[in-house]
Amino acid sequence: MKQIIILIFIAFLSSHNSIGQVGDLKHGDKVYSVVNHVFGNHSKQVLLNKYFYNNRGWLVLLSDSDFFDNIYGQCLDFDKEKVIQLNKIISKSDYNSILSQSRNFQPFEKIIKSKLHKNIRLVGNRHKVDVIKMTKPIFFSDKAILYLHRNEEEKILIFKMNDDGNWKLICDKYLYLRLSD
């Protein structure tokens, strides 16, 4: 009986702790809705590093709209069918909010496997060439931004939530892209 009580207590603590890891449950859902949007449609298995990538260096690129706009890749307004500049997407206050949220990035923050689509496989922090690393999405207004790193490309992705609640990629800026073979 004593063992059962201990197990229940451990289970309670464990579930409480996991909820605390992602903070607000709604926020946690948004994080994984973005992750699943990026990788969930892949017909093949995606190898994703089991930790969110604790990298903030790319954020400096958001401070210079002109420079950012000149990086390969485009930010698009699909309604008006035109290319838009970064400063039309991220305001000054948005930028400050993004920086503030990035301070909460934790080293070795685990990605919760149970919240991922089945085709996403979490792997250890080994340098397999086909393992993807991504930062935890940061949210501002109705958008989310993240940095994605794999062997052949490094890019910043910005998504906008549609009226139907689905994410849509509106901006991909490639810090590096290699198309091989």
Binding site: I132, L157, L177
Partner: protein, 615 residues
């Protein structure tokens, strides 16, 4: 390169000329020292044939048999009596020259010239001509000096062999190396009585038309000169008390970079262009090259393309274009003259390429990307690479002649006929792609050979060059070249050019159907761009196959094998490939192995149908 509709010219010279023809003229001594408060000039009589560098320069700026010419019509002040014939040809007397060296060791070379003219008017008889070559840094430039003597002054000379130049009466005129009037100073008794700069040789006075002489910002003027001497001498300039026997002449001719788009200075020595020079365009047409006859033949009888006549440029035009290019690069690249002197010198030795670069920059309206492309091209060319300005394509020096021979036919548009999805039949894939880059001022393509990871045939990397300019660099693995057949290499170049093409479209035309489909593939493939492009590229298999077949002149007699090879690299990991018949997939894999591993020591050599000749 075709004709241009944009008027530009060029040149900014700063000439320091320290000599008086009178001081060497008629002087039998072999050395004369001319001392002033501001300079010392040592004059030697020389034979230019003994100065190879100067001789080379003179040869580069003169016509056949060392001739130059003066266009009198460019001098609005010339007496009607002198204007009997528009052009006067001057024959240089290379053995009758002087070397004039100043206190800094810098020399000018003054070469006597004889006029070829039918003009018998007495005014004309009392003129002498010289070509002056000025050392300027590591190079030289030239201008033409005309000295017209007053007949009465000559008659007054006590010593007919040693005229008293301090009392010179007459006029000294300067013409640039193309024979256009720059400036004139009139003397009476050794005193300057009048000065005239060159009038606008293009006529009209439209601001911004680029004509020298309008005084608008773009002109820079036809030239000016100053005496530069101190009070106490004879002669003078702005200061009537400033006099000098030996006028120090500074000539600065600044012809404009921007101007009337209808003027084309690149086809003739006429700075006003062939036809659009306005009401005052002197002669308008091409001074050096006769108008093309209807039959479109060169004067030597060679037939030429009437639509795109490729008429060789004269030495003068090449030099003019060279200076123009340097001015443009100097204006657009900080510290160009200090950082890139090696490029300036290389261009001086390769003036036809400088002309081609100039044409390219004019066509691209001197955009930042075109400047970047020219500098990148220069690096490649100076190291033995090749550049196609028509195609915005750089072939890096790392590409061997053998590989080059494989690539060249791919960029020869008319050689191939291929099927491409969504484009008209009979449009070649290579042509389509290269057309795209050639029509874009912001996207350039570069092909090089380098060391890549084992098993990788080639890769293409788009990169931002800043300012909205992008370079797509295709690198072919050197080990692959050692092992692959020419057929496989050609296939790989086509394959990589499709990557460049898709990357270009994705950025430049983000709402095109291609970009929409690419985004779909990205969303279906974990945002993996390489995979998305290969999934998309499946549509191009037939186009690649037909392009390859045509490259090979259908040497294999059937499209089948070319289709096997059109499937390559990561295309073999696509969903579409998975769904192909097993036998076909097997043939694809076998063909790729045979053609990709045909080097010595590979067991598959015998199975290859291409030739492994680029080891």
């Amino acid at each position: 390169m075709g004709r241009f509709n944009t008027y530009i010219i060029l040149c900014s010279y700063l000439i320091v000329y320290i000599v008086s023809s009178g001081c060497q003229n008629d002087d039998d001594s072999t050395e004369t020292i001319i001392a002033h408060e501001h300079d010392i000039a040592i004059v030697h009589r020389i034979n230019i044939n003994e100065f190879p560098e100067i001789l080379d320069h003179v040869a580069s700026v003169t016509r056949e048999d060392f001739r130059v010419q003066i266009d009198h019509s460019t001098n609005p002040n010339i007496p009607q009596s002198r204007n009997h014939e528009r052009i006067t040809n001057l024959i240089l007397d290379l053995e009758n020259a002087t070397q004039n060296t100043d206190e800094n060791g810098r020399s000018n070379y003054v070469i006597s010239a004889k006029a070829e003219t039918t003009n018998t008017h007495s005014d004309f008889k009392f003129a002498t001509y010289k070509l002056v070559v000025v050392e300027y840094g590591e190079t030289e430039y030239s201008f033409i000096l005309e000295r017209e003597y007053d007949q009465d002054w000559i008659a007054s000379q006590a010593d007919p062999l040693n005229w008293n130049d301090e009392t010179f009466t007459g006029a000294i005129r300067f013409y640039n190396i193309y024979g256009y009037f720059v400036a004139e100073t009139q003397y009476s008794g050794g005193i300057v009585i009048n000065q005239m700069r060159g009038a606008d040789p293009c006529g009209g006075d439209d601001p911004g038309d680029g004509d020298p002489g309008d005084g608008d910002g773009g002109d820079g003027g036809g030239g000016y000169y100053i005496c530069g001497c101190n009070p106490g001498h004879l002669g003078g300039n702005d200061n009537p008390d400033c006099v000098c026997t030996l006028p120090d002449v500074w000539i600065a001719t600044m012809l404009p970079v921007e101007g009337d788009v209808n003027k084309d200075p690149l086809r003739g020595a006429d700075p006003c262009g062939p036809s659009g020079g306005g009401s005052g365009d002197n002669g308008g047409g091409n001074d050096d090259i006769p108008d093309l006859p209807e039959e479109c033949f060169l004067p030597n009888g060679d037939p030429i393309d009437c639509e795109n006549p490729d008429i060789p440029l004269t030495n003068e035009q090449l030099l003019e274009n060279y200076f123009s290019l340097l001015v443009i690069l100097g204006d657009n690249i900080p510290d160009f003259w200090t950082i890139h002197m090696d490029k300036s010198l290389w261009l001086g030795d390769n003036k036809p390429i400088a002309s081609e670069m100039l044409y390219y920059l004019v066509e691209q309206n001197y955009s930042g990307s075109s400047i970047d492309f020219v500098m990148e091209a220069l690096d490649s060319l100076m190291n033995g690479g090749e550049v196609s300005f028509d195609e915005n394509l750089i072939i890096d020096p790392s590409v061997s002649d053998c590989v080059q021979s494989i690539i060249d036919p791919l960029i020869t548009k008319s050689d191939f006929v291929s099927l491409v999805p969504n484009v008209p039949i009979n449009t070649n894939l290579s042509s389509l792609i290269l057309d795209l880059f050639s029509n874009s001022s912001n996207h350039n393509l570069k092909i090089e050979v380098g060391s890549l990871s084992s098993g990788v045939n080639a890769e293409t990397v788009p990169s931002s060059q800043g300012g909205g300019h992008f370079l797509y660099t295709t690198t072919i693995n050197s080990s692959y070249i050692n092992n692959a057949t020419d057929l496989a290499i050609a296939r790989t170049v086509i394959h990589e050019s499709v990557h460049a093409y898709l990357s270009y479209i994705y950025h430049d035309q983000p709402f095109s159907s291609i970009s929409v489909i690419l985004r779909h593939h990205l969303s279906q493939n974990g945002a993996t761009t390489n995979t998305a492009q290969h999934e998309f590229m499946v549509q191009y298999v037939d186009a690649v196959a037909y392009s390859l077949q045509n490259w090979d002149n259908n040497g294999l007699g059937s499209i089948d094998y070319y289709k096997y090879l059109a499937w390559s690299g990561d295309m073999l990991n696509t969903t579409d490939f998975d769904q192909l018949p097993t036998a076909f997939k097997s043939n694809v894999i076998s063909a790729n192995i045979a053609e990709g591993q045909a080097g010595p020591g590979n067991g598959s050599t015998n199975a290859a149908l291409g030739t492994n000749n680029c080891q």
